[in-house]
């Protein structure tokens, strides 16, 4: 099925965005996020971007104070996901102009809109930045 969840977590381990593509109860989510964050945040720059956890593989990337963690199936193409994270960041950059943690915190809905355009049901839908941003721009214009 591909992508199971996408998390954005800051250096302190606080979740800034969480999007799941499979149903987990709140308890399970809390536990999972805690475990993953502990594992990934402890890693250094010299280590690889993949962490195996339970039956997921976590592909993660760090941008300044923000970690992007994507949980995928074990046989997903890791590098493709790694670059997909970068695509997401670039898309946010284009919209916010050098995106930072606060942008995502205060414009949570926009981050969600973008994700919504890019991933559906765990599969990549769209990789063209302008197509991704089109609905948001449309909305900004009307409001």
């Amino acid at each position: 099925m591909g992508i199971r969840f996408i998390l954005m977590v800051n250096k302190q381990g606080q979740t800034r965005l969480a999007q799941y593509y499979e149903w987990l109860t709140l308890e399970e989510r809390r536990a999972l996020e805690g475990e993953i964050v502990r594992k990934c945040l402890a890693r250094t720059e010299q280590q690889c971007s993949f962490v195996e956890h339970r039956n997921y593989k976590i592909v993660y990337r760090r941008y300044a104070s923000l970690f992007f963690l994507v949980g995928v199936d074990n046989d997903e193409n890791e590098l493709a996901i790694l670059e997909f994270i970068h695509l997401l960041v670039e898309t946010m950059d284009r919209h916010f102009g050098n995106v930072c943690e606060l942008d995502i915190m205060f414009h949570l809905e926009k981050a969600h809109f973008m994700l919504e355009e890019m991933v559906m049901n765990g599969c990549v839908v769209e990789t063209s930045k302008s197509n991704i941003l089109a609905p948001i721009q449309l909305m900004d214009k009307t409001s």
Binding site: W23, L79, L108
Partner: protein, 1000 residues
């Protein structure tokens, strides 16, 4: 905000209930999502979120859809309320509404949605009037609905449309259609053949960068995600037959393999390598030309040595997948040193991959190196990996052990270094191995003893060493520091440190040590009894039961020796560890073709290697010789009580009941279940003919005339259990298993009346298919008349056939009858020659003789040939009571009190045959308390032949009892027969025995 209490949240939602402006409503619903994201339970406001879906304006609708799909799952009741609105949005004219609705259904739509919306979604997907932004979402929405209910996609009608979809120009629509295709072909690749060339076309288009909008080019690479997806889809088709299609695909792949260079820009590099790794996977899947494969291996070899950790990780991962491809293992082995270096990488993810790869590439040739590397690494490995590491090392050691002592070394080291992470299965397995391999026992016991000297050892080590020493420490008795007492002391030192699960094992060990201490050491006995006493009131039922039982048993002395005897062998079977590893490898729902192949291959590999591990007990095993009393295989729960009036040969079923030695239910199952008919373990079929040596393993003492020479036979079927052991067991009892292999079990039940014997052979087919060409031929020795009733040629599946066999004893002889048995299973022709337990002692009837009857008889039979005397040397040192039991089990009745010398035994019995009729036999054994390895035996009867045969028979029994052959020190000296010449004048002239001696 983070600390926002539940109360505050509730307050917010009180506002929600009062009429809010749409803007406020929207704002609060987002806040709700935010709170939920922070991990607070939001079980209110769902209705508000769902109700926003039906709002007329886009912003509210959007919030409604997005928040609903985040908060609710597909089974939520509120979702049903929205189903109509959603449908209206999907079939409506507003494209943006369509997108929102499709996205939500695509994310959380359930079965109900699948049934009511699938048709509409399909229509949107193939509609030419729809814009790509709607169609790409329709594709993934359909994928969701298809997963919920595969029937929504009608294969016949859909194949062509799917193929059409792949002609699409828009990359967005192609990307999502490709995901849909992957799901469809993973379930049914045959139906979607027509899509294969289209995938190749898409790939070509991307590879050549034809007609790819700038927007979809990522750092100069045309949509790497679509390339990856297309190659993934191709991996679900088993092969590509169309030569043109194949050629163009290989061109593309070749270009990717050759044309991917390392570039400075990280993102470009990653994206290019994402495509490259997928291409590698596809090449492996297609099992391409040799040249291309070696290219792949070379590339991977390069990758595992680069500095960039991501590439190194993926190199190792893909090399592990590569192991499934035939013919490349050797080239992978060339990288072994590099892989071992990766095992020490600072990154756990990479170490994991390296471990997996090492595990996968291990075979007999490199097992020693790899396992030793793993062991070395174990002491520094982080905790997260130790369990996996130790399990894998244990499995490899078992699968590929060049010799078994190495296996024992590895496991003990493993326990020593990572006791916490060694599951019980691992040490159970080593116990099984040691129990089944006599050669290994002294070594394992000595090793266990060594580890006990360490100052602090892990509890698992205490368990395994206590168990091994309890069973086999008597094999070490002559080594320094290994006397029963010393062993007891060193084990007992550990008692205060162990948990309740280990205490029962220690108690069993004490009981066994006590049993093996002959002659009994009163001090040790008292110590151990004190311990048993102490635990008699233990709150733990298991401990208490053992303490009480062992105490009672050990007070009975040697009479109950065989209850505490060594454990019988475990039946060979698949290692629990390997099973465990298999379970761990079972994967989640969606499996790629490579994974599936990988699993098939591993399971094949396991079958092959299992045969190897089943080979474990090497053919040399029976060199130890047959076992008479001590090791009675607990095969017959229904054994008849044969020894009249004596509690000696207890029904063997009790052995397992009384002796709770087994550390787990699993092992207990083994003990209880050897008779159970079960399917043939694949492992038991062996190419070698090692059953031969089992027959050859008869000890020299019994050899010679006593045994009808049994020719070598070359069977491909390995018997279960030791044929000799089974035979000797049956000499002592009247029912049990004579022979067993994976296909058949031959049981025997006998009744003896004077010179007549009535035996029944039970031929049980263990399989679900019939056994053909069954033939049984009895080859009786000259002194026996035997008649076997007709044996059917075919034994139906899972049936048991009974064949009565009548025996008449003509005259005394020790020769043995042989059953020549053969059958055919499939292509296997199996032929075995089995000795039948119609032996001399079966025609004996114990008789009690009083002193008044005995002495006149004894005197009247004066001198040879009716009375023979012999000094037998090399006798296994047995305490007198035990020897008395041995005689009783041969139906020679010990008459206590006849001989005033307590070191002597007098026995009487009646022998029946046609020629002799009932014939009284009298036996006297004089033992020397100073040297129990020799004794003087006098046998008297009214028939010279009987006297001779009986004397020889007893001599065999006294000498052939398994004794020191375990230890390297004292091989049993063959008995020197000196007729009627006492070695030293019996200096007992003064003792009361002299009175009897004078009569001789």
């Amino acid at each position: 905000m983070k600390r926002l209490g539940r109360a505050v949240v509730m307050e917010i939602f009180c506002f929600l209930k009062q009429g809010l402006t749409p803007y406020e409503k929207k704002k609060y619903v987002w806040k709700m999502l935010y709170i939920y994201m922070l991990g607070y339970d939001v079980d209110f406001g769902h209705m508000e979120a769902v109700s926003l879906i039906s709002a007329p304006k886009y912003p509210e609708k959007q919030v409604g859809y997005i928040v609903t799909s985040s908060l609710l799952n597909e089974n939520h009741d509120f979702l049903r309320l929205a189903i109509n609105t959603v449908r209206n949005d999907i079939i409506g004219r507003n494209e943006t509404f369509q997108c929102l609705a499709l996205t939500m259904v695509g994310n959380i739509g359930g079965r109900e949605f699948a049934e009511s919306l699938a048709a509409d979604v399909q229509k949107l997907l193939i509609s030419s009037s729809c814009r790509p932004l709607v169609r790409k979402k329709a594709a993934l929405c359909l994928l969701r609905l298809y997963r919920k209910n595969p029937d929504v996609v009608n294969i016949d009608g859909w194949v062509d449309r799917m193929a059409q979809l792949l002609d699409e120009r828009d990359i967005g629509v192609l990307t999502s259609s490709m995901s849909l295709l992957v799901a469809l072909v993973s379930n049914n690749h045959e139906a979607y053949w027509s899509c294969l060339p289209k995938c190749v076309k898409v790939l070509e288009r991307l590879a050549r960068n034809q007609d790819i909008p700038q927007e979809y080019t990522y750092y100069g690479i045309p949509s790497p995600w679509l390339q990856v997806k297309a190659m993934r889809a191709l991996q679900y088709f088993p092969t590509i037959e169309d030569p043109n299609c194949r050629r163009s695909l290989f061109e593309v792949l070749q270009r990717i393999l050759m044309g991917t260079d390392v570039v400075k820009n990280v993102n470009k590099n990653n994206a290019a390598h994402a495509v490259l790794f997928e291409a590698l996977a596809l090449v492996m899947h297609l099992d391409a030309e040799k040249e291309m494969m070696s290219q792949c291996v070379a590339l991977l070899g390069k990758f595992i040595a680069v500095r960039e950790p991501n590439i190194r990780y993926l190199g190792l991962e893909n090399m592990t997948r590569m192991l499934m491809v035939t013919d490349v293992q050797d080239s992978i082995k060339r990288h072994q040193a590099q892989i071992i270096t990766s095992l020490k990488d600072p990154d756990i993810s990479i170490r994991r991959r390296a471990l997996d790869l090492l595990y996968g590439m291990c075979d007999i040739s490199n097992a020693k190196d790899i396992v030793e590397e793993l062991l070395q690494y174990l002491s520094t490995a982080d905790f997260a990996m130790r369990e996996e590491l130790s399990l894998k090392a244990a499995i490899l050691a078992e699968k590929f052990a060049p010799d078994l002592s190495w296996y024992v070394d590895v496991i003990l080291q493993l326990i020593d270094k990572a006791g916490d992470f060694v599951s019980d299965d691992i040490w159970f397995r080593v116990v099984q191995f040691v129990t089944n391999n006599e050669d290994l026992q002294p070594y394992a016991a000595a090793k266990a003893r060594e580890y006990l000297d360490k100052p602090a050892i892990h509890e698992t080590m205490v368990k395994v060493s206590a168990y091994l020493l309890g069973e086999f420490s008597h094999l070490l008795a002559r080594r320094p520091g290994c006397s029963p007492k010393e062993i007891f002391i060193i084990i007992h030192e550990k008692l205060p440190t162990v948990s309740t699960s280990t205490i029962p094992i220690l108690l069993s060990t004490y009981a066994k040590i006590l049993m093996h201490t002959q002659p009994p050491d009163p001090e040790l006995q008292n110590q151990i009894w004190t311990i048993f006493n102490k635990y008699e009131s233990c709150i733990d039922a298991e401990i208490q039961q053992r303490a009480v039982e062992y105490f009672a048993l050990s007070r009975k002395g040697a009479a109950v020796m065989d209850i505490l005897a060594e454990m019988p062998k475990f039946p060979e079977r698949q290692s629990a560890l390997i099973k465990k590893a298999e379970v761990a490898e079972v994967d989640s729902a969606d499996q790629s073709a490579i994974k599936l192949r990988a699993q098939q291959q591993t399971s094949n590999a396991l079958v092959v290697t299992d045969q190897h591990s089943a080979n474990g007990p090497p053919p040399t095993v029976p060199a130890v010789g047959p076992l008479t009393l001590v090791k009675v295989p607990s095969t017959s729960g229904n054994a008849e009580h044969t020894s009249e009036g004596q509690a000696l040969t207890q029904p063997n079923g009790t052995l397992t009941k009384i002796d709770p030695q087994t550390p787990s239910e699993d092992l207990l199952g083994d003990l209880l279940g050897p008779l159970a008919i079960e399917g043939p373990p694949g492992a038991a079929v062996q190419p070698q003919q090692n059953a031969v040596s089992e027959v050859g393993g008869v000890p020299s003492a019994v050899d010679g005339a006593a045994i009808v020479p049994v020719g070598e036979y070359s069977n491909s079927v390995q018997p279960i259990g030791n044929i000799n052991e089974r035979f000797y067991a049956l000499c002592l009892k009247d029912s049990g298993v004579l022979y067993e292999d994976p296909y058949i079990q031959i049981g025997i039940k006998a009744e003896w009346r004077a010179q007549h014997g009535h035996l029944v052979l039970f031929l049980g087919n263990k399989n679900t298919s019939p056994l053909d060409s069954v033939q049984a031929l009895v080859l009786p020795p000259a002194h026996l008349k035997m008649e076997l009733s007709l044996v059917p040629e075919t034994i139906p599946p899972r049936a048991q056939v009974q064949c009565p066999l009548e025996v008449l004893n003509l005259r005394p002889s020790r020769d043995v009858a042989v059953l020549d048995f053969s059958y055919k299973f499939g292509a296997n022709m199996v032929n075995v020659k089995l000795r039948l337990p119609a032996v001399l002692n079966k025609f004996l009837q114990p008789i009690s003789v009083s002193a008044e009857e005995f002495f006149p008889q004894w005197r009247s039979l004066s001198g040879p040939p009716l009375k023979l005397q012999e000094v037998v040397r090399g006798v296994r040192p047995l305490p007198l009571t035990e020897m008395a039991n041995l005689f009783n089990s041969f139906r020679l009745m010990i008459c206590p009190g006849l001989d005033p010398n307590p070191n002597n035994l007098v026995a009487s019995t009646t022998f029946y045959s046609e020629s002799t009729r009932a014939m009284l036999c009298l036996i006297r054994i004089e033992t020397d308390p100073a040297d129990r390895t020799q004794l003087r035996m006098t046998v008297a009867s009214g028939d010279p032949m009987l006297t001779f045969e009986l004397k020889e028979f007893m001599k065999e029994q006294l000498v052939s009892i398994p004794t020191a052959p375990h230890g390297p020190t004292a091989p049993p000296t063959p008995p020197v027969a000196q007729v009627a010449q006492p070695t030293s004048p019996v200096k007992a002239l003064t003792d009361p025995g002299a009175m009897l001696a004078g009569l001789l």
